[in-house]
């Protein structure tokens, strides 16, 4: 068996194992899906750091003002991180509604969040990116979890706002996978990311273990790993919808992901102790699995891309005058090449994996009350995601190996 076949078979087995494990875990814990009802309403400070977000800031702040939570228990803090556009002016219009406005020199998102933390009056603090909008009941559905003193953070249900482009539609599926996986990871005590759009934290955690790590590319991953390393719990609500703007173009998407995954790599290397069965499912399974899936997808996609490109390249450099005929032959052969895949011995297993993926999506859709159809997003996802995933991870791994500096 060729090495690449071995990787392919391994990838399928690995996909089956994780798929069955996650679906089983979901159903095992189904009775805990409903959010615990809050019996008390602690004060919640919501920090909105912003840098050049004049297009979305009003919508973000409006969504916060409409949140269904006792108004005297809601402390909205806007921190302008040295915006060069009209973000600050637009935010100031909300002072009359009780939003506290702060301005500082540009220093990065974490530094803006830290200023917010200093000013925060709440027992709970939340961060909300200025390109995201919260649903009415999001905060209410999340605070109930904090009645358990072990819970240090609660993550929301992230969804893509108004997807228009193909890239955004792919992200709809990706985010729905995230909705399912976050819940499953919370059932396994293994959540290792607390997303920027509205994760709520217990403020005492920051007081005890320090504020956001300024200069970190993904301060939200760092905090999550810090919480895990201290042995606390991160919870997730499947009914706290927060909508965020997905990058609309390929270039912007790659740029965002390069930062995320480079940040992920930096942070997991900063917490190597988490890769230990002592940290339970997270150390034994979830974190290693994240690495394995990256390596496997990377190997498969680069192998296929190499084969494809070397073929095209070979045809171009040797006798370029016949390139068009060769291309024509290549195109006419596509149906038979595709047919090859229908008789591949791996077809039944690929069908099973596709169904597992669909089960994730349907569970996420049903339990998070998602109204959008997932047909087109899922098909686009199946076609493009492998290549996308491999591309942004290669960029991230490359930048990590060569220690390249990545800007926001």
């Amino acid at each position: 068996m060729a090495f690449i076949d071995f990787i392919l078979y391994f990838a399928i087995f690995f996909g089956l194992f994780t798929g069955i494990f996650f679906i089983l875990t979901f159903f095992e814990n189904k009775k805990y899906i409903a959010d615990p009802k809050a019996s008390k309403f602690p004060k919640v400070s919501i920090i909105v750091p912003a840098y050049n977000e004049e297009k979305t800031i009003k919508k973000t702040l409006n969504s916060l003002l409409n949140v269904n939570y006792p108004k005297d228990k809601l402390d909205i803090i806007f921190v302008d991180d040295g915006s060069k556009d009209n973000t600050l002016e637009k935010a100031k219009e909300y002072e009359k509604f009780g939003v506290r406005i702060f301005h500082k020199e540009n220093g990065g998102k974490a530094s803006a969040l830290n200023l917010g933390l200093e000013k925060a009056k709440g027992e709970l603090v939340a961060a909300l990116d200025a390109d995201s909008f919260v649903s009415k009941n999001s905060v209410m559905n999340m605070v109930g979890y904090f009645e358990d003193s072990e819970v240090m953070a609660v993550t929301p249900t992230l969804k893509i706002y108004n997807p228009k482009t193909l890239w955004q539609k792919i992200q709809v599926t990706e985010y729905l996978f995230g909705v399912f996986l976050r819940k499953v990871f919370s059932f396994m005590g293994s959540l290792h990311v607390t997303p920027g759009p509205l994760t709520i934290y217990r403020k005492s955690f920051f007081d005890k273990y320090g504020n956001y790590d300024e200069g970190n590319l993904t301060e939200d991953i760092e905090v999550a790993l810090r919480i895990q390393s201290k042995g606390y719990v991160i919870e997730n609500s499947m009914n706290a919808d927060v909508y965020t703007l997905g990058p609309p173009t390929f270039k912007k998407l790659i740029r965002q992901r390069r930062r995320w995954y480079r940040g992920f790599l930096d942070n997991v290397f900063a917490y190597p102790e988490l890769f230990n069965p002592k940290h339970g499912n997270l150390g034994l399974f979830i974190l290693p699995a994240a690495f394995i899936s990256v390596i496997v997808v990377f190997a498969l996609v680069s192998y296929w891309a190499y084969n494809f490109l070397s073929n095209v390249f070979l045809h171009l450099i040797t006798e370029p005058e016949f390139f068009l005929i060769k291309l024509n032959l290549f195109i006419t052969n596509i149906p038979s090449t595709l047919l090859t895949y229908t008789i591949k011995p791996l077809i039944p297993l690929s069908v099973i994996l596709t169904l597992i993926g669909l089960t994730y999506l349907l569970l996420a859709k049903v339990y998070s009350n998602e109204k959008q159809s997932i047909k087109i997003p899922y098909i686009s996802y199946l076609i493009f995601y492998g290549v996308l995933f491999a591309s942004w991870w290669s960029v991230a791994i490359f930048s990590k190996i060569f220690n390249m500096k990545i800007k926001w």
Partner: protein, 223 residues
């Protein structure tokens, strides 16, 4: 009242769960592989049947050529058979890719296919000699085993390009590693060995080593 839940406990590894899931995955995985192999058997069986029909078609074309008094030199039948052979070659190639070059079913089909090609080639040769038909007959010997022939795939592509450009030729591709009486005889007739591949026989003349499309055109033009 919210059920008191020990959230920290969730972090703990439950080994039995890991084992059960591993076994379930192994079971489904094996089932999937078996099902996949079955699909392959079905495909080879159907291809086998097509080849049986083809055998009859070639035989009847041969008979047509021998018996026909009116139009023995009509190439329609020969052309139809050639395009059938092409389709079959693609299907075998697909099966080879899917199930491996050493799969028993695939090897049997490939051997069978080589004999059909030889019969077609003989028929084409006869018609060419008897009927004064001008077309080139190209035999191409290659290996699909990694490391045995670096440029065979490229050579095969070049021949495909050539055929795409020029209607007046019949091409036959043979995997040097096949082993059956008819093919072995063909190999020894042109003294083709593994060390020389890619080998191309154009109208009974042998050429070894990789040939560019231009070079192939020159050879055929000179003929």
């Amino acid at each position: 009242m919210v059920e008191k839940l020990d959230r920290k406990k969730r972090k703990k590894v439950v080994l039995t769960k890991y084992i059960v899931v591993f076994l379930a995955s192994a079971f489904i995985f094996t089932l999937g592989i078996i099902l996949g192999q079955q699909i392959g058997h079905m495909k080879t069986a159907s291809l086998n049947k097509v080849m049986e029909d083809m055998k009859t078609d070639i035989a009847s074309a041969e008979l047509h050529y021998i018996l026909s008094t009116e139009n023995p030199c009509d190439l329609t039948g020969l052309n139809e058979l050639a395009s059938e052979l092409d389709k079959m070659s693609n299907q075998i190639w697909e099966l080879e890719k899917a199930y491996g070059k050493n799969n028993e079913d695939v090897l049997r089909l490939a051997n069978y296919y080589s004999t059909l090609q030889i019969r077609h080639w003989i028929l084409a040769k006869d018609i060419s000699n008897e009927c004064d038909e001008k077309y080139s007959l190209i035999l191409f010997f290659y290996s699909n085993i990694e490391g045995e022939c670096k440029r065979c795939e490229e050579q095969g592509d070049n021949i495909a390009v050539l055929r795409e450009k020029d209607e007046g030729m019949y091409t036959y591709a043979f995997n040097i590693n096949l082993n059956n009486l008819a093919f072995n005889t063909l190999k020894s007739r042109y003294n083709v060995s593994k060390t020389e591949i890619p080998v191309i026989i154009i109208n009974d003349k042998k050429y070894t080593g990789f040939k560019t499309i231009k070079k192939l055109q020159e050879i055929i033009y000179e003929e």
